[in-house]
Symmetry: C2
Subunit: 212 residues, 2 copies
């Protein structure tokens, strides 16, 4: 009988091992040797699936965003959640507060940086951002349709606002361990972000700009 090899599964094992190392020790720790140890596959196997360490990192980013996409679809399709609960879940799933989400955000930021000088990569990263915004927007519109959020709120603005909050807080946390710790410990952070992004325009105190 011919030996059956599930190549997709093996690739996933290798990229999952890579992401585990990134969460634990950062991207600087990614070497053929460390990934071989973590995954249990030989350096030869690794080279078979990923021709270079950049290929391995790119494959790992795609693996991380693919898993994230699956989670987003789960929230989209989940029955039994209110639209706001689904929105909280979506936001929570993107914040860098466990190994999976930390690795996702670290490797994604690495390629955001690289994408500033690489058109093809830029397109891929842009599509990912666009995709996230689409999921967030859909959840916001569902919340409006079902009366959880005021209908006069501009869904595009609220979507961009919420995504900006998620990515902005994440960026600062990635470069400051104390901010990471504080945010991780802040109960209800996802709800806070959603509430802020969905504030009706009239909620802001207009007298703030006046002279005291």
């Amino acid at each position: 009988m011919p030996k059956y090899v599930d190549h997709d599964r093996r690739r996933d094992e290798i990229t999952d091992a890579t992401l585990a190392i990134i969460a634990r020790d950062g991207i600087r720790a990614i070497k053929t040797r460390t990934v071989a140890e973590e995954s249990g596959w030989s350096t030869g196997s690794l080279a078979h699936y990923f021709g270079s360490s950049r290929e391995l990192l790119l494959g790992s980013m795609r693996r991380a965003t693919e898993v994230q996409g699956r989670i987003l679809r789960t929230y989209r399709d989940k029955s039994g959640l209110t639209p706001l609960e689904a929105l909280y879940g979506i936001v929570e799933s993107l914040l860098p507060f466990d190994d999976r989400r930390l690795a996702l955000n670290r490797i994604f930021l690495a390629f955001c940086g690289e994408a500033t000088a690489d058109d093809k990569l830029n397109e891929e990263i842009s599509e990912y951002f666009d995709n996230i915004r689409r999921f967030v927007r859909r959840a916001i519109v569902a919340a409006q349709d079902q009366g959880y959020v005021r209908g006069d709120i501009d869904a595009d603005n609220a979507t961009l606002h919420l995504c900006a909050l998620i990515d902005g807080f994440t960026l600062h946390a990635l470069f400051d361990p104390q901010i990471m710790k504080d945010l991780q410990a802040r109960a209800g952070l996802a709800q806070e972000m959603v509430t802020t992004a969905l504030l009706p325009p009239t909620a802001a105190p207009t007298d703030m700009h006046a002279k005291p």
Copy 2:
């Protein structure tokens, strides 16, 4: 008479030319040839000051953040502005809506990405973020001290919130030309961000989470 060469000035001319290209054509357009053309210095001169294109980019990022630092100090020291006006000015100076600020944000993002795998660079980027937060925090506290902003608002939280908004909106704009255009055209965006980040905790409608 010996020929006097102002090396600092020449370095600034080269990095300013680099930043001008980055604003116009992106980081991908940085080549010895294009920088030589833009700056008016020979490729030999360029090589004298910057040993590699990475050194040139790093020098250009440092030039951009140095200029940004000077602008932040101006807002800190400016008399005749209310603390809120100074805060709007600080936020405005960081948003990527002209050549200087676009180049700053593009090159900074490139090195944020690289910093995920480089400890020394990570330290430099972290310090820059920390520095920006310090300027923003000082302006917020001044606004509180002078009665423009409520004293019960946590200055650290508001600072992080405001910086997250600036960097989050910028990140999405950098990867989506339409978002960039829309935000650039949005009058009062800096004020909006400040108002949102400085909302008193009670301003958020608490009934938003209830079933309709």
